[in-house]
Symmetry: C2
Subunit: 298 residues, 2 copies
Amino acid sequence: MKTIETKIENGDCLNILKKYPDNFFNLIVTSPPYADSRSKTYGGIKPNEYVEWFLPRSEELLRVLRSDGTFVLNIKEKAVNGERHTYVLELILALRKQGWLWTEEFVWHKKNCFPGKWPNRFRDAWERCLQFNKSNKFNMYQEEVMVPMGDWAKNRLKKLSNTDLNRDESKVNSGFGKNVSNWVGRDMAYPTNVLHFATECYNKNHSAVFPKALPEWFIKLFTKKHDWVLDPFAGSGTTADVSQGLNRNSVGIDILPEYCQLAQKRIAHYQYRLFEDEAQYESNNTEADSGICRREYT
Amino acid sequence: MKTIETKIENGDCLNILKKYPDNFFNLIVTSPPYADSRSKTYGGIKPNEYVEWFLPRSEELLRVLRSDGTFVLNIKEKAVNGERHTYVLELILALRKQGWLWTEEFVWHKKNCFPGKWPNRFRDAWERCLQFNKSNKFNMYQEEVMVPMGDWAKNRLKKLSNTDLNRDESKVNSGFGKNVSNWVGRDMAYPTNVLHFATECYNKNHSAVFPKALPEWFIKLFTKKHDWVLDPFAGSGTTADVSQGLNRNSVGIDILPEYCQLAQKRIAHYQYRLFEDEAQYESNNTEADSGICRREYT
DNA sequence: AGCTCTTATGAATCATTGA
DNA sequence: GTCAATGATTCATAAGAGC
């Protein structure tokens, strides 16, 4: 029986990370503050200053990441003066100069993107999930994110409506039945580099970052149990929460005390639920208060 | 009834375009030869030389495009030595320096992408469709590409609740949902910047996989009938073919004579079919104008 | 368990107005 | 003239309640 640690630390990751040794984390997955958004609540970095702001922090990330580990960066540039800003492109180029390998770019398709209408632009329904590595020998557990084909097909068929049929030209033309026959006999399929997740929109009083499904997918793909996961811009602690649920150790850092408190509460809540479920749980409030949360694993 | 012109020209677009006047085309949509791929069949440009090769040609494109026109570039970087190459990012930055505005990046999600398995990479299921403009006052006919609303709308609009009327401002006080009655009776919605098209894989002898649905969508969105469409890397002539079918004038340029012959044949065939089925063709067109769906949701 | 119906809200963007 | 705040526009999802 091993213990899972879940730490929430308050401060700028640039400073906090100094405490951590080289080559420690197996995965860094984060959604940093986007340029020029939430300027009131999150210290708003200007698009033109974004790369300059980011690089010292990514330098620390490069140090604490293991050589077989992975860094996943969820980000999307906004429209400025009718154009997409280029700071994300410049960031990718700068990170490569810093020593990172730009291994892959996943697309997160936001199925329920924000509504709106403009004369010269459609709604933005996707974000980048940039994968960086220190070496091209990195750990990847592809089987852990395989899609069960049978269930998927069952669900898909059940939910199939006439609107779906109208929208799906290829199904109409090529015959849906023919495709179904392809699925028979195959249980699991590997995914692609396009991820389809909806943003979470339940009642929340803080600005949501990414949906749990997003870090969950990358944690499964790039780590195994008892590995260490870092989120240097933790926000309300989604990554730490998910890591705990998947039996991964994790560290979440955020500069705002309010967010750290929220994250702490999420983790504590989880601990409490566990406590109820399992009688032999040994309570350790001292550590929980100091930002460490232990979870049993059998 | 006016005449639609469809020209196929053999040669390097860098030279051919010199014949064309400034501010002539309403839309340029193309899928240029990707760097380092198809090197045997298409004169393979090396990734490191790609920007340098592209810029003189895009200079001509900038000249022949009208100031209210749009340039759509379908492209995707390949993995080189385990990394995504950066030439597309560099190209975007270079095009901006050349005077283009980088207005938007659409994602083309390839639903039936090429099968395969690698130890450190999933299948690549998306490509970029980069939108560039000469000014932020460009023509966009959004109604032409509207899609049916989801099933949710049917139930949602049956009864207007009071919460719809006073949606409280959670983060950004945007006064949302003030007039839900606007939705009643609507059955079409505007699309997003994520496009779901299947690749056409029936013609194995052409190396370019450019499904008709892709240029079709952009032609409908950015041009009206009798406008001029250019594809400077026409390949087998998909853009010209589709333009003709949508009653747009077009010019397709390709450096390979074989491709030009293929394209020529496609157009002739189509013309013949047009002549035969004129009545039916007109009616189809009316339907298309009223919003037949070419887009899929997952 | 399942299913239907209700309801809140999400890293949005542009045009206009005001300082 | 540049920058900042405000108003207007809008779609799809999942939690939760009810049956």
